[in-house]
């Protein structure tokens, strides 16, 4: 009885409040000569995005711009995940070393970068890269690769050249043994490397004010890659260290009695067993990393959040719709990956231990 009355009271209060808020909101939106709706997503955007993997010009739609932003976010996320996992594994192994100084080094790294806000790190790397790298007129040049404070310019092969790399997952799935897989992998890489010489490379050439032709990676992209990788690698190192500590000591002792050295013990015996233990925490960190990419708005990299809640919001004035799009898409990403983390990854690996 009490519960039902609380439910009733709550629903009355909540619905009235919600109704009042929505009416006010609608009034205010109409006051700006706008109408609530997502139709504007299919009108012309009117702005170019300079720093993208797929081109966006001003006569394409807002929805296209949002998709381009998502693409930017995901590519950056994948690059950051790879780099931060490598650095994280390195420091986790370092922290299990017997040398006291190496342990100290790894704990200093982890504690330093874990306790400084990510935004401070991003702005620090951005400012220092802009400050230390030379301007475009006097680039640091190595063969045809130019490095300046506008980004990295490098020769680019046509995108067909990278198609053979799609065979790599096939090798990992189909190959029967470790040796077989290794040989196939090496063979593919060598054949692919030789084939690169037969394509037309676009080489960056100097024009009056800049360099044109070839590929370009902007300074903002590099900054985010470095800062996010370092920040998340300190968290990932802690996760992996926890997983390593959970493996029974007998494993190390038996591996030692077989004559393996410290690095071999870690890579071949301990880490494969620790994977199911630290995997859920690790995937959580990857999810956090994807959310942290939204800080790119501070240095002006056109990621999903920056384009939707920054450029499009300011240009079209439709703040409510833009924020709703952001919330929905982040919610979708989160729901899918949470489902994956909870239901697919963990129990399957758990059975192997």
């Amino acid at each position: 009885m009490i519960k039902q009355s609380i439910n009733g009271l709550f629903s009355i209060i909540a619905l009235t409040t919600l109704a009042i808020l929505l009416i006010k909101l609608n009034q205010n939106i109409n006051h700006q000569n706008l109408e609530f709706g997502f139709d504007f997503l299919f009108s012309q955007s009117g702005f170019d995005i300079g720093d993208t993997w797929i081109a966006h010009t001003h006569d394409q739609t807002y929805a296209h711009a949002i998709l381009i932003g998502l693409c930017n976010t995901f590519i950056l996320a994948i690059a950051c995940v790879l780099l931060s996992t490598l650095i994280g594994i390195f420091f986790a192994i370092l922290s299990t070393n017997h040398s006291r100084w190496l342990k100290l080094l790894s704990s200093a790294y982890i504690n330093l970068f874990r306790n400084i806000p990510l935004l401070v790190q991003i702005l620090f790397f951005y400012t220092s890269i802009l400050y230390w790298l030379p301007p475009i007129e006097e680039t640091l040049q190595f063969a045809d690769i130019h490095l300046s404070n506008r980004g990295l310019f490098f020769p680019k092969a046509p995108s067909i050249a990278f198609l053979p790399l799609l065979l790599i997952p096939l090798i990992f799935i189909k190959a029967t043994s470790f040796k077989n897989r290794k040989n196939l992998f090496l063979g593919l890489i060598i054949i692919w490397g030789v084939s690169l010489f037969f394509y037309d490379w676009q080489i960056p050439t100097r024009t009056r004010f800049s360099l044109s032709g070839g590929g370009q990676l902007s300074i903002e992209w590099f900054t985010l890659l470095i800062a996010l990788s370092i920040y998340s690698s300190s968290y990932i190192a802690e996760c992996i260290r926890g997983g390593i500590h959970a493996i029974h000591k007998h494993q190390t002792e038996s591996a030692k009695s077989l004559g393996l050295n410290h690095l071999q013990i870690m890579i071949k015996v301990i880490l494969p067993q620790a994977v199911p233990i630290f995997m859920p925490a690790l995937l959580n960190q990857y999810l956090n990393l994807t959310k942290n990419i939204s800080l790119a708005i501070a240095i002006g990299y056109p990621d999903f959040f920056g384009i939707t809640a920054g450029t499009i919001l300011n240009q079209s004035g439709r703040s409510l719709e833009c924020i709703l799009v952001v919330i929905c898409i982040y919610g979708l990403i989160n729901t899918i990956s949470t489902y994956f983390i909870e239901n697919i990854s963990y129990p399957k690996w758990k059975n192997h231990v």
């Binding site: 609380i6 629903s11 703040s319 924020i323 919330i327 989160n334």
Partner: protein, 287 residues
């Protein structure tokens, strides 16, 4: 480096009027004394009622000192509270409020899971946990004034956003800690006929707090770091002041020093927080 004093001063206190700096010093003292008081309470040196009363007094007096009332103390507009002291104040004001509120929500989630308010809260918390903090801050600064026709200053928006964000995370921590409580405790409570809110206050809550301290401190440290994000919605906290300084030509070459100061300040704050967590963990003993 003659202007290093000026730089540090600007990063710490920003635009706060120079004659009123003593108020900020007292706020810092209040923060320290509140942590000390919490440790005292955890060691059973002071009773619960005194602790709650003292905490309330300290929070309100720090708020009063920061903004004044125009009668005894000059009124300070919210945009003049800036610099690193703003980060500290945001953290200090959001952490106790969010923790106390999430205890209430935790009660709802554990004992009244079928109520509609609980369902609403769970869904909202899930949404808030899945979006980055800046989205929430943007929502509060842009959409909420349109919904309510109330002018919301950026400071209020930041504080509200941080509190909501913190509640969504702390409730999850509390829920996990509640699942870790031994089933014997529930059985004994049932044998003594302690049920409902009395069981929550006297049996669940003390154990929830004890179990959750490590992850709670982790969440607090995350929040302290997240206070740096308020610079994106235009508040001049320490990072905003740093950007102002770098934009000036005369300090352009000092950016390494400036970033080192900011990093050291945040690092110190997080270090103090984790130290506090370790002490608290040792202090709480139930016999």
């Amino acid at each position: 480096m003659s202007n290093i004093h000026f730089l540090i001063d600007f990063l710490l206190f920003g635009f706060f009027p120079e004659q009123q700096r003593w108020r900020l010093m007292i706020i810092l003292l209040i923060c320290l004394s509140h942590t000390w008081l919490t440790l005292k309470f955890a060691r059973h040196s002071i009773p619960l009622k005194t602790f709650i009363l003292c905490s309330f007094c300290l929070l309100t007096s720090s708020w009063y000192l920061a903004f004044g009332d125009g009668w005894l103390l000059n009124i300070i507009p919210t945009n003049q509270l800036s610099g690193f002291i703003l980060n500290i104040c945001l953290a200090y004001w959001s952490i106790p409020i969010a923790t106390v509120m999430s205890v209430g929500f935790c009660y709802l989630m554990i004992y009244q899971p079928e109520l509609w308010p609980t369902h609403c809260f769970v869904i909202l918390a899930k949404i808030i946990r899945s979006i980055p903090l800046i989205t929430l801050l943007f929502f509060i600064t842009l959409i909420l004034p349109m919904m309510t026709n109330i002018e919301i200053t950026r400071f209020q928006a930041a504080l509200t956003g941080l509190i909501i964000f913190l509640i969504a995370y702390i409730v999850e921590v509390f829920k996990g800690a509640h699942q870790a409580i031994d089933t014997h405790q529930h059985e004994s409570a049932a044998a003594l006929q302690i049920t409902g809110i009395r069981k929550f206050i006297h049996i669940d809550l003390p154990q929830i707090i004890k179990n959750s301290i490590p992850s709670l401190i982790n969440t607090y440290i995350g929040l302290i770091k997240d206070t740096a994000l308020v610079t994106i919605i235009g508040l001049s906290d320490s990072l905003g002041n740093l950007q102002l300084l770098i934009a000036k030509y005369e300090f352009k070459h000092d950016f390494l020093l400036l970033f080192a100061i900011i990093a050291a300040l945040f690092w110190m704050l997080c270090f103090i927080c984790s130290l506090f967590g370790k002490k608290l963990e040792k202090a709480i003993v139930y016999e």
